[in-house]
Each structure stands twice: as structure tokens, then as C-alpha cells.
């Protein structure tokens, strides 16, 4: 396999983009990424997206977006793995370059969630779960996560308030990210008083519904040498995906993210790194409970200790395991199919020393993890700054 480098990045602000359509926000991320990488053509475009069919009435995004950004004629298609679609598109691009089929690939994550009203969006998000035996019973995606959080609090005897450290950290970091949706600081006090949406999950446990697009240009090693924008080269050193049952009720242990365990072990091995080498971890904090379960399944905390890691301040930019360094899903925002690409883009900024006030000192190895559904598809990537 050939080494794969990230040669360019582009992103739109995350939020409610009333004036821009799905195709426009894709454009707004891809064109800057192409300029950043100094390319005018690419061999292929892979678009990560979850809900365009349901929320925008538009499928066939590969051809649509390729044409719209001036790349008519190239190989292009959509990649879907629920909220893990962005990293799945990245994985597709990675395989194409690593396998020697292509030298220059554009990977874009794009999602438009604000053209519909709340209940339609709620119903659409539940498509990430088992439609016949979870969603059909009227159980929303938020409620599924609430079932996990309630059980976690019960098994490990953890009060709800302890999860607030995840939300406070995410909002604090979003303040240093000009593209974040919620750059406002919150306190543990405001967390405790937030509106309940599916107990014990309240508004500040949950990531927001929003629009956004992010893009990466992936290139082979030879091509990386020939272009180069003068920044530190960032290599994708590990890339792995694993799956679990779609429904939570079919898992052997609902509080264990087996697909995170499997994919992270594969990625560590492929990259030749151990968990202690990782300088920052962009995890999938769609809900605070997911942040805790991720820290545990990936080996950063013992079972039942993920929340303690947050409580002890280890997840901040100065901590042992900085997470959500640009705001995470909670406060940068979670445009579902775009999120996996935002995570890798932000990790790239960290490795290139371009994270501004949020810079993790001497960051050279970063991990990103994107989750589809409540843990059914989990994609792990490890990036190394050279």
C-alpha cells in the first residue's frame, strides 16, 4: 500500500445556512480545499452524506456535486454509513490512493438538515437505527442514547451532573474555532438547568441539528512532493472500520462499543502507535454518553471511568487526552454526514500548528473517530504530522 497524504482542506461554517443549498455548501468546502492543495483536477470525488434523500429530496450526489464544482466527467459517488458517512467517504478515498488506483482524490462531507421541520428531521435521524424494531416503536435517536446513558449512570453510580464536563469542554474549545456553531461558553450550572429532551439527556448533552460541509484533498506520496503548500505534511497512518448490530437491543453488552474497540486496535496497529502516543482525539460526542463510551472502548479510560477522565480535567487542550479540540460535535456542530470530514480537517490543523488559541502543544499524532448510529459503524483514523 502507498502512503496517503492530506494536501488540502476546506470547510464552511457550521450552522443554519438558509441562503445556501446542499450543492452550494458542498461547493463552499470543495473549492477552498482544491485551492489549498493547488489542484485544478482530481481523479475522483467521494461525497459523504447521510440524509440528502430524506431531507432535501436529492440523491445522486456524486454526479451533482462533481458537476457543480467544475469537475464534470470524473469518477464520483456518495458514500453512506449514517452519521459515519464522512469518515466512510474518507476511507473510500484513502483506499483508492493507497491501493494505487488514483493519485488525487477529493473527499467531501456535506449535510443540509435545516430545510425540514423538527419532527421530520427527528424521524430521518432515526433511520440510523433499526427501522423495524427500534424506530417503528416511536423511539427517537435521542431516546436510544438516553437508554444507554440511564443504564450507564445506574451501573457505575454516576450522577447526571458529572457528564457536564464534556459539554463545558466542547463549548470552551468552540470559542476558539471561527467555524463553530456555538462559540459561547457554558457552565456546569447552565448544564444542570438545561431543558430535558429525553431524560436523562438534556439539550446540553446533545449535539445540534445544522448544515455544514468539509473537504479534504488526498494525494499519493509522489504527488505530495510535487505540489506542497509549504505546510507540514500530514499522513493518514491508520484507517479502519468495524461494525456491530444496528440495534442496541441486539448487542451483547449495550455499554461497550465493540466496533470502536476493534477499529481502534486495527488503526493503532496499522499506524504502529500505542495509545500513549496519541496527542489529541477527535471523538464522536453526538451525546455526552457517547464521549464516555468512546474513551472507554478505545482504551483511554477503564470501563465506567470515562466520565471521571472529564471530571479530572484530562480532556482539555492541556490535558492528557485532549478531545473535541475545536468544539466537537457538541459545539462545532454535527451536520451528520459531514462530521467525519470536519474531525479529520481539525486534526490536520492541529498537526500543522494552525489551531490558533486551541493549539495542542507539540501535536504530532492525532486520532479521529466517527460513529454511525448508536455504535453500529465505527471508523477510526490516525494522522501523523511528518
Amino acid at each position: 500500500m502507498r502512503p496517503v497524504y492530506i494536501a488540502g482542506i476546506g470547510q464552511t461554517p457550521v450552522g443554519e445556512q438558509w441562503e445556501r443549498s446542499l450543492r452550494h455548501i458542498a461547493h463552499d468546502a470543495i473549492i477552498p480545499a482544491m485551492r489549498d492543495a493547488q489542484i485544478e483536477r482530481a481523479d475522483a470525488l467521494y461525497v459523504g452524506n447521510m440524509l440528502s434523500g430524506e431531507l432535501v429530496g436529492q440523491e445522486h450526489l456524486g454526479a451533482l456535486v462533481a458537476d457543480f464544482v467544475g469537475l464534470r466527467g470524473i469518477e464520483a459517488y456518495k458514500v453512506e454509513a449514517a452519521c459515519g458517512s464522512g469518515a466512510a467517504a474518507l476511507r473510500t478515498g484513502y483506499m483508492a490512493v493507497a491501493g494505487g488506483l488514483h493519485d488525487v482524490v477529493i473527499v467531501a462531507g456535506v449535510e443540509k438538515m435545516t430545510d425540514t421541520v423538527g419532527r421530520e428531521t427527528t424521524a430521518a435521524l432515526a433511520m440510523a437505527a433499526d427501522q423495524e424494531y427500534e424506530a417503528a416503536e416511536g423511539v427517537s435517536f435521542v431516546a436510544l442514547n438516553a437508554l444507554l446513558m440511564r443504564r450507564y449512570m445506574y451501573e457505575y453510580d454516576i450522577p447526571h451532573g458529572a457528564f457536564g464536563y464534556f459539554a463545558v469542554n466542547a463549548h470552551h474549545n468552540a470559542a476558539g474555532n471561527p467555524n463553530a456553531m456555538f462559540p459561547n461558553s457554558i457552565t456546569l450550572e447552565s448544564y444542570r438547568k438545561a431543558t430535558m429532551i429525553a431524560d436523562p439527556i438534556n439539550l446540553l448533552d446533545s449535539s445540534p441539528i445544522c448544515d455544514g460541509a468539509a473537504a479534504l484533498v488526498l494525494v499519493s506520496e509522489d504527488y505530495a512532493r510535487s505540489v506542497g503548500n509549504g505546510r507540514r505534511p500530514v499522513r493518514i497512518a491508520g484507517s479502519a472500520v468495524a461494525t456491530d448490530s444496528l440495534a442496541i437491543h441486539d448487542r451483547r453488552d449495550p455499554l461497550w462499543l465493540d466496533a470502536a474497540f476493534i477499529s481502534s486496535r486495527k488503526a493503532y496497529q496499522q499506524a504502529g502507535v500505542s495509545i500513549d502516543d496519541i496527542d489529541l482525539f477527535e471523538l464522536h460526542d453526538a451525546f455526552t454518553i457517547m464521549a464516555a463510551l468512546s474513551l472507554e472502548a478505545n482504551g483511554f479510560a477503564e470501563r465506567g471511568r470515562g466520565v471521571r477522565l472529564a471530571e479530572e480535567g484530562e480532556i482539555t487542550i492541556e490535558g492528557r487526552v485532549p478531545i473535541a479540540t475545536m468544539g466537537g460535535l457538541k459545539a462545532r456542530g454535527h451536520p451528520v454526514g459531514a462530521t467525519g470530514v470536519y474531525q479529520v480537517l481539525e486534526a490536520t490543523l492541529q498537526l500543522q500548528g494552525l489551531a490558533g488559541p486551541n493549539q495542542v502543544e507539540n501535536a504530532s499524532i492525532a486520532m479521529t473517530q466517527n460513529i454511525g448510529g448508536s455504535g453500529a459503524t465505527i471508523l477510526t483514523h490516525i494522522l501523523v504530522g511528518e
Partner: protein, 137 residues
């Protein structure tokens, strides 16, 4: 869900019909044709008793399309006595009375209505076990 899809899953929704694996004897619900425990074919029908305990629970305040009229309603993961876990609504109980470990049993209730032209969907829901309630009283 469409009419055909609702009809297709009627045995599951009305009678909790799952499967029992011929090879490892595990009970399976919902039915899935390949045993999740041993990966052997599993197509022998087996009706679960409908009794179990609450593994976890929550309340849906912000329902998906089609469930507006019923919100807020409690939902749970129910660990059935035969082993499988099922995701379902709770009924005949106030949300603040639900507890982890509470014994519950399956009943058939209206799940949702699909407008003037559509069907009314019935499904399993779980209520506190009546017998245990009586004993406790």
C-alpha cells in the same frame, strides 16, 4: 411503516414470535434467520413469554412523525426472561414510576395512526406485571 411492512411483522408485533436456534438453543427476537450467537441458520419459530425486566428507560418528549399525539411517552429496553432484549414503549405507568429491574409484561396496544386514509398500527408495549403488583399489594 407501510401497510405491507406492518402486515409482514404482525406475528412479531402481536405475539412476540421470534426464533429458537436448533444448534445453540438460544432464543432470538426479533427473528433474523441467522443465529447471532453461533451464526448457524435459525428459522424455527418460537413465541416468547412476553415477561421480562426493565434494563433501561427514558421518556420521549420530542417524538418522530406519526407519534405526536402520544408524547410524552416512556420507552424502555426490556430484557426478556428467555434472553433477548427488546426496544418498546411502556404503558399503564407514569414515566416517573419506572425503575430499572422492574418486572414487566407484554400487552397489545395502539402504536400510531397514519391519518384518515392510513391504517392504525398495533404493537407490543410493556406494562408492570399485574401478578407481581397484586402480590406486592
Amino acid at each position: 411503516m407501510s401497510v405491507a411492512r406492518t402486515w409482514r411483522t404482525r406475528k412479531q408485533r402481536y405475539a412476540l414470535v421470534g426464533e429458537r436456534c436448533d444448534y445453540c438453543q438460544n432464543a432470538i427476537f426479533p427473528p433474523r434467520d441467522v443465529c447471532p450467537h453461533c451464526a448457524e441458520p435459525a428459522q424455527k419459530e418460537f413465541a416468547l413469554s412476553g415477561r421480562g425486566t426493565v434494563y433501561s428507560y427514558t421518556t420521549v418528549f420530542d417524538p418522530p412523525t406519526g407519534f405526536d399525539a402520544f408524547a410524552p411517552y416512556p420507552v424502555a429496553l426490556v430484557k426478556l426472561d428467555e434472553g433477548p432484549m427488546v426496544t418498546a414503549q411502556l404503558t399503564d405507568i407514569m414515566p416517573d414510576q419506572v425503575k430499572i429491574g422492574m418486572p414487566v409484561e407484554m400487552v397489545t396496544r395502539k402504536l400510531n395512526e397514519q391519518g384518515d386514509e392510513g391504517i392504525i398500527v398495533y404493537s407490543y408495549k410493556f406494562r408492570p406485571q399485574l401478578q407481581r403488583q397484586a402480590l406486592a399489594a
